[in-house]
């Protein structure tokens, strides 16, 4: 069997080199993304230990200094070290993204599973609620709610969760619907398993690949949404560093000191890009297509 397979593969030399090259490029991309995320998450986790300076230490004598060996990312308008603030800001962004992904992922997935498996009234209610979430762009929904509730970290997490759960519910519901008439589900029902048991032990494991892709994609979307709120002054509040507030504060110095706004933005871009590449890789693997991650 294995020998047949090997012969079949080597028998098509015209296709092989190019495909394996692409495969290699994808593999490098995927591993690069993993490495980037590990680096950023590690720095965020150990922020107090790895940040070279206190992120809030003001030194007006050293304001707006360009990147150098002493301050790798330069200093901002108050002489604070931009790299240290980027590291501490990443801690906040990732913490919020993790909380939201967990809450929205669990809530949306459960809602989708139950709606898809049970159908009927539950389905109608869940889908109507999802439609309401979809009726406003997430940025506007989150802005209005944070504006009214006040920009505390807990409120930001709650509001972004409320603006993000419906995607999970919709996709998982569609999968649950396609699974509920499959033989193994019918057999489980015949053997007397409860609905919850069927949903959690038979349907949930089968939506895992999709869920993994949704979760990683969502990390990027949440980081962007949180940064947007912070940028508009309705997210993390100064002097606490966050990527969004740093970009907003650096805006006034764009001509004289681009590093104060563009380097935090670059950190954000690297993080979201890595998360999206990861999601892409998971999606390819889940689909079982060629050149899996």
């Amino acid at each position: 069997m294995a020998a047949d397979l090997a012969r079949a593969i080597t028998a098509s030399p015209a296709v092989r080199p190019r495909r394996s090259l692409r495969h290699l490029a994808r593999r490098i991309g995927f591993l690069g993304a993993v490495a980037t995320l590990v680096l950023i998450a590690g720095a965020a986790l150990l922020a107090p230990h790895v940040a070279p300076y206190d992120p809030n230490a003001i030194n007006l004598g050293h304001a707006l200094k360009a990147p150098s060996a002493v301050h790798w990312f330069g200093t901002d308008q108050l002489g604070r070290d931009v790299l240290s603030r980027v590291i501490h800001g990443g801690r906040m962004s990732l913490l919020i993204a993790l909380c939201v992904v967990t809450l929205a992922g669990i809530g949306g997935t459960l809602a989708g599973l139950v709606a898809g498996y049970r159908g009927g009234l539950v389905d109608d209610v869940v889908m109507r609620l999802a439609e309401i979430q979809y009726a406003l762009p997430p940025v506007i929904l989150a802005l209005v709610m944070v504006g009214v509730l006040g920009p505390s970290t807990v409120n930001i997490i709650l509001v972004i969760t409320l603006a993000n759960w419906a995607r999970f519910a919709r996709v998982i519901r569609a999968e649950a619907i396609s699974l509920r008439h499959r033989d193994f589900v019918l057999l489980a029902r015949l053997s007397g398993a409860s609905s919850w048991r069927i949903v959690l032990t038979h349907i949930l494991p089968n939506v895992k690949p999709t869920l993994l892709v949704l979760l990683t994609l969502d990390i990027g979307l949440i980081i962007i949404l949180e940064a947007t709120l912070s940028f508009l002054g309705l997210g993390i509040q100064p002097p606490d560093p966050s990527w969004g507030t740093m970009i907003a504060e650096g805006r006034a110095y764009l001509e004289r000191a681009w590093w104060t706004s563009l380097l935090p933005g670059a950190a954000l871009l690297a993080t979201v890009l890595a998360a999206n590449i990861l999601a892409d890789g998971f999606g390819r693997r889940g689909a079982g297509g060629p050149g899996g991650a």
Binding site: R18, R22, A25, R128, E131, I132, Y134, A135, L136, P137, P138, V139, I140, L143, V144, M145, G147, V148, L149, G150, G220, I224, A227, T228, F231, L232, G233, L234, I247, R251, L254, E255, W258, S261, L262, G265, L268, L269, A270, V272, L273, N276, I277
Partner: protein
């Protein structure tokens, strides 16, 4: 078909109703505008008068009923800050945002559909790789970051366009690029995926077997079948663009709908916030309905209504 439209409008009305109830309750439960808006030395009598004028006195359900009745007449209350009806304030600021989102969408279509075609024709080729990198970057950062990057490059470094402001076509260039790039990625992916699928189908093989030149196969046979989902997808991007426009407008000082929402929130101008929410939900519902109707009109296989 008319019954389908009615049903969709009915569902839209329910969405709007629930949305207004949520926003109404949030605004009323969290703070008393009479305390937030009036100076601290105002007397209790002043506050009562203020509440009376703004329709903030009386039990909540009654206030909501009044609000709904006014809403049905198209009256969304008076702006706290501007001496004008809230709806008027919102509609005035909608124009610049619609121009900006329209331009961004046009840019996305013009830039990305050809890129999608190029990558589908030679998957794995250089054009494909470049197009995918371009899209991955566009989706990896919020539009306001690209706005600042473009300002630094095109306005500060090379002085090609103005840094910010609104009014001339030159002012529109950078916000359009920043906003369009973000939404372009989805368009390119969709073009690529659909075209790849179509190019692998039987009737394309047939057309090639007939000996038709490749460009005829591509343009006359393949692209027509890809255009349809693109139309609907482009229209469905409206919400994403309107959301992205909020931060882009803030960067470029565009007097649009998004910057109005941010201003109204920070100035506690709740009637304007409510009016903005109502207007964007109505827009959203109408656009989605329009998209579905266009789809049905373009594709004879689709018929709505049971």
């Amino acid at each position: 078909m008319p019954s389908y439209v009615l049903r969709r409008l009915g569902a839209g009305a329910i969405t709007l109703f629930v949305m207004t109830a949520i926003i109404f309750a949030l605004v009323r439960l969290v703070g008393d505008p009479a305390h937030l808006m009036l100076p601290p030395e105002a007397t209790e009598a002043d506050r009562a008068l203020f509440r009376e004028q703004l329709g903030l006195s009386g039990p909540l359900p009654l206030q909501y009923l009044d609000y709904l009745l006014a809403l049905a007449r198209g009256d969304l209350g008076q702006s706290f800050r501007f001496a004008a009806p809230a709806l008027e304030v919102v509609l005035q600021r909608l124009g610049p945002s619609l121009i900006l989102t329209g331009a961004a969408m046009a840019f996305a279509v013009v830039a990305e559909v050809p890129l999608g075609i190029l990558s589908a024709v030679r998957p794995g080729g250089i054009a494909d790789q470049a197009a995918r990198l371009f899209c991955a970057l566009g989706q990896a950062a919020p539009p306001f970051f690209f706005s600042l990057l473009f300002i630094r490059l095109f306005a500060v470094e090379w002085r090609l366009v103005p840094t910010s402001g609104y009014g001339t076509p030159a002012h529109l260039v950078l916000p359009t690029l920043a906003l369009g790039w973000y939404s372009a990625a989805g368009l390119m992916r969709l073009t690529r995926a659909n075209l790849t699928q179509v190019l692998a189908s039987e009737y394309i093989k047939m057309a090639r077997a007939k000996g038709l030149p490749e460009h005829v196969v591509l343009v006359k046979h393949a692209l027509r079948n890809v255009a349809l989902p693109l139309v609907t997808f482009a229209a469905s991007q409206f919400g994403i663009l309107l959301g992205g426009a909020v931060s882009v407008e803030a960067v470029f000082a565009v007097p649009g709908f998004g910057s109005l929402i941010v201003e109204a929130i920070s100035q506690l101008d709740y009637p304007v916030v409510q009016a903005a929410v109502v207007v964007s939900v109505v827009l959203f519902i109408l656009i989605n309905l329009g998209v579905d109707l266009i789809y049905a009109a373009l594709d004879p296989r689709i018929r709505y209504g049971r």
